[in-house]
Subunit: 403 residues, 2 copies
């Protein structure tokens, strides 16, 4: 998918604690690793956990559905800013609410299931390579900006899903025979992210989700029509980060997100579980681990200090951290606390990350090569000199015309 990608084939890295990256890993499974229970993620906790839930969190969610009683007059938080943010989420929410009567919130807490059944006949491929190439072509037709393929790896499945209705865990049951996971990424709008923090910038997130939903449904239906299983998942069912790393889409970064060569951390991931045999992509490195080691822009920019500047460790801030992985960790309680106070999500760490730039391709390629070399401090300073990652006013975004 990019100049950094490798196409060499090698054995499945499923059991590998480094996700196949060896000494280059920045996300390393330890002996005391425990699979994650979705009820412990900060969004589920903001419903059942009195340590997180408050009037502020209830209002935070309400602003996604209802108009605020008094629109704030602050640039980036006016009626049209919320109007755009909420509209961008709309299609994702439609699917999330479609089966609420069955105690499902598809895309957030449960797999998407609005799919037709498969025919009995299976299309057979000449080789797993041919199948992988075809799936990637179709994923791109259906709007994916990046696609990677890896093997099914149970470590990253939630031990339990979460029932919003009962505010309790529920089984995370998947059918037998799933062998492969397709990870798709949708880039978020660069200019919207430049306005973070703002309610406006939340439209980048929401549109990433809605566009991802469309891609996941269409691609899954395609795989079903070929006669195979396909289970599309968004935030539900499994962790995206390790699957995206395993599928070669990017490296783990200090801000707790996957940094892709093409868009940095400015992406939303979706995953499709399937039994279609395909060639696996290899995890790849392009110098992110070393660059993050010496760059603290996200650490310094976070208004609530949720990103540690420390070396990768097994540090656990609270129950929202996964146990037994040596990596950079983030304090989700502090992070989400900022979201609830401003009534919108925050991506300041994404905005300031030097890998998130809207350069033309050839400049981006050159910069990444420099950032991945021993001259990485030069890359860092070049980004500083040109003012990369500075905040723009929401009104600046609105003032741009359609042409």
């Amino acid at each position: 998918m990019s100049e950094e990608a490798s196409t060499e084939q090698r054995p499945s890295p499923s059991a590998d604690p480094t996700l196949g990256l060896g000494n280059a890993a920045s996300f390393e499974v330890q002996g005391d690793f425990e699979r994650f229970n979705q009820r412990d993620d900060i969004f589920c906790r903001s419903f059942w956990d009195p340590e997180v839930r408050s009037e502020a969190t209830d209002r935070f969610y309400a602003t996604y559905r209802e108009a605020l009683a008094n629109w704030r007059a602050v640039d980036g938080f006016t009626q049209r800013d919320y109007a755009l943010r909420n509209a961008s989420w709309h299609v994702t929410d439609v699917f999330a609410e479609l089966k609420e009567s069955e105690d499902r919130r598809e895309g957030y807490l449960d797999e998407l299931t609005v799919l037709r059944d498969a025919p009995d006949e299976q299309v057979e491929y000449e080789s797993p390579q041919a199948a992988a190439a075809e799936i990637k072509r179709v994923a791109q037709l259906f709007g994916a900006d990046l696609v990677g393929i890896t093997d099914y790896d149970e470590r990253w499945l939630y031990t339990h899903k979460y029932s919003r209705e009962r505010e309790a865990p529920k089984p995370n049951e998947q059918p037998d025979g799933l062998t492969h996971v397709i990870v798709v990424a949708k880039a978020m709008d660069h200019s919207l992210i430049e306005t973070v923090p703002s309610a406006l910038s939340g439209a980048a997130t929401g549109w990433g989700y809605s566009a991802d939903t469309l891609t996941l449904l269409a691609l899954s239906q395609y795989i079903r029509n070929l006669g195979y299983q396909a289970i599309p998942t968004l935030n539900d069912t499994a962790l995206a980060v390790p699957y995206a790393i395993k599928a070669g889409l990017g490296e783990y970064g200090k801000l707790g997100l996957v940094i892709t060569p093409e868009f940095g951390p400015r992406v939303r991931f979706g995953k499709i579980f399937t039994d279609l045999p395909m060639e696996l992509d290899l995890p790849k490195t392009f110098g992110v681990k070393e660059f993050c080691d010496s760059c603290n822009l996200c650490v310094d920019a976070c208004p609530v200090g949720a990103i540690a500047g420390e070396s990768p460790s097994e540090k656990v801030y609270n129950r929202s951290n996964i146990v037994g992985i040596k990596k950079w960790s983030v304090d989700a309680e502090s992070c989400f606390g900022f979201w609830e106070r401003q009534n919108s999500d925050c991506s300041i760490c994404v905005r300031v990350c030097p890998y998130n730039r809207g350069w033309p391709d050839w400049i981006g390629r050159g910069w990444r090569r420099l950032a991945g070399s021993p001259l990485r401090r030069v890359a860092y300073w070049l980004d500083r000199i040109v003012g990369g990652g500075r905040r723009r006013a929401a009104s600046w975004w609105w003032d741009q015309t359609a042409d």
Copy 2:
């Protein structure tokens, strides 16, 4: 939206028989004009009209939902070709089937209604120009390739919608106060259209619809969140062609479709009815009428002679033609007869049209300038010399890798 677009403002062309184009019009309302009843479109007729409905038409529709009992081995009509086509339509179909229990097929026969209510407060704009510019910017964020704005013009609303359940007309009622129509266009995939006729190429159509559905829902929800009405429509409620012409998206062409400067006839249209006051776009011409006059590529390529080579007239082949418009007309019965025989839609006329080319922007701009000048025959022959519009094998499409 393009070099050919004008931004000059002038009075509403609503009552104008030429849609505001005067002598340049290629779509001209006559004194005996009658509004169209959706039951007479060829798709509705393929259910209620024994002159159109047959085992073949039933099978045609069935192939969009169920696997064929015996996959044809012909290139372009194999299982994976149908698999892709049907997957591309999937999300459109989800919305079409969501309210079938209420005798609605949203997007095909009824407006899309899966939207949240609006707040009481209305965002006010400095000027209709500012509102128009903002709506266009948001439409593009939400995936529209082209956007135009025109005024509400009742002539193009269906007299009646069609009930699939009762196989009979039903009222086409719209709320009071609608004043504006936003027309969005989504370009269809160029390389898929190169493989027409094939089941594979139907994926270009289906994906155009699904992507349009996402854009229409998100943009309509945005307008609602601003405090205004917004009614998203796809094939339902009103004719797209005259609205697209009025909104300045393109000119009417010999093949019976709107030809846009940017993509030729290779687009799908959606429309949003609203009461948000916005500046109107002007209809525009860029020489299509004169070019079509001297070009017969679509006429000659149509395997069933459904496109007349004659001069614009009020010709009516059958009840699927609108009465009282002087224009190039198409025989929908012959056209759809070809679709049903090959179990997929056909866009040969789109493929061969010289305005549908995948040129880089600057070449396309130069070619259009030539095609719009007295040297249009040179433009025609240039297209012939480079082999524009030739059919490619479906297997050629599949053989391209993702990179």
